[in-house]
């Protein structure tokens, strides 16, 4: 069977692909020579292209940072919206706090090391920490089920 005849577009693309492959694998000095023949300064191009890429990298990092900050703020907003019901009284909240710590023993040492005595925790501290525990799914199961 005779091979399918190529279109002019395919033939032209073939030439450009060959030239592209040549650029990909040619020795560096050949590329430098080509740039100079075109009246370009490879040193200037080097500075320009590196600046362009570094600027893009910086923009990307700033964008990533902004996205992370926004996600953190969304998280905080979700916590402060009080997406779960705290016990009504300070005594009940303290009891829940201590029960949670007793259950999550890995947290206990960290809290007692920082504060020596859990009794030093104000109700405000306890509320803030209970909200964090809730976010982390550390509250006792029955309490998590109470949440919205």
């Amino acid at each position: 069977m005779a091979p399918k005849e190529r279109s002019h577009t395919e033939r032209f693309e073939k030439i450009l692909d060959f030239l592209g492959d040549h650029i990909r694998s040619a020795p560096g000095d050949e590329l430098i020579e080509a740039a100079r023949e075109e009246g370009r300064d490879p040193g200037e191009e080097n500075t320009r292209l590196k600046d362009l890429l570094l600027k893009r990298l910086k923009l990307h990092q700033q964008r990533t940072l902004t996205e992370a900050r926004e996600a953190y703020e969304r998280e905080l907003a979700s916590i402060s919206r009080g997406d779960f019901n705290l016990p009504d009284t300070p005594v009940e909240r303290r009891a829940l706090f201590i029960a949670t710590l007793a259950q999550a023993s890995q947290l206990q040492s960290a809290f007692t090391m920082q504060h020596r005595d859990l009794s030093e925790f104000s109700d405000e501290d306890i509320v803030a920490n209970l909200k964090k525990f809730h976010q982390l799914g550390l509250l006792p199961k029955s309490r998590n089920r109470d949440s919205k």
Binding site: T9, D17, I23, L31, L53
Partner: protein
């Protein structure tokens, strides 16, 4: 140093530790040490790919836009550079080829793309679920309606006419340059560089000089056709 084409996302061989994608700090360092040879390879590749896909697929975008789009993909989550496996320049050049093919494919499938759209990555939005949505999503059509099919046929016919004219001009330019004419024949016969050199018994220096003449002429031709000067 010459570069050999490699797969841009190599898989680890069994038993070897899983390679880690490069961090932004690695990428920064790689950019800072790029040599003029490296940046020329990146730039000339991007320019070649813009010529290859043609003006409609390039859609007003130039070599710098292609480089930036490729670099954005390297920074994003869709492509990873494994620095232990492949050099940065080699990797970026591979991504440039791939993105250019993608642009050509988009144009082929979507004749209604917005004209002179910016970089895809710049136009990408995040939907309500935090998922990235390309502005080109949903534009692809499997079945063209008669109007679209006609538009596609016209566009293909126009590209075919341009390509025919380009080849005629190239042939005419090298009518008296036997070596260049034969090298072009070799390209069209699917020979690689080594085979062409061997068949034509060209020294490395002769082949290099011939390739430069062809490169120069094709570049001039494409700039005239696009009414632009390469960036």
């Amino acid at each position: 140093m010459a570069l050999e084409p490699v797969k841009t996302n190599p898989k680890a061989s069994p038993g070897s530790p899983k390679p880690a994608p490069a961090t932004p700090a690695d990428i920064r360092q790689a950019i800072e040490v790029l040599t003029p040879e490296d940046t020329e390879r990146i730039r000339q590749t991007a320019q070649n790919r813009i010529y290859q896909i043609g003006a409609p697929a390039a859609n007003g975008r130039d070599a710098d836009d292609l480089i930036e789009e490729a670099f954005e993909r390297v920074l994003g989550e869709t492509r990873h550079w494994y620095k232990e496996r492949v050099g940065f320049t080699q990797y970026l050049v591979g991504v440039i080829w791939s993105i250019a093919s993608e642009w050509a494919g988009y144009r082929e499938r979507n004749k209604n793309l917005p004209e002179f759209a910016g970089l895809e990555s710049q136009l990408t939005k995040t939907d309500n679920e935090g998922k990235q949505v390309s502005p080109f999503d949903g534009l692809a059509t499997k079945d063209l309606n008669p109007e679209q099919a006609l538009a596609q046929a016209e566009a293909n016919a126009e590209r075919e006419r341009h390509s025919e004219a380009f080849i005629k001009i190239i042939r005419a330019e090298f009518a008296d340059d036997v070596a260049a004419s034969l090298v072009i024949d070799g390209m069209l016969d699917d020979l690689d560089a080594a085979e062409i050199r061997a068949t034509l018994e060209l020294s490395e220096k002769e082949f290099k000089a011939t390739m430069r003449r062809i490169q120069r002429h094709v570049k001039k031709l494409m700039e005239q056709a696009n009414g632009t000067k390469g960036a």
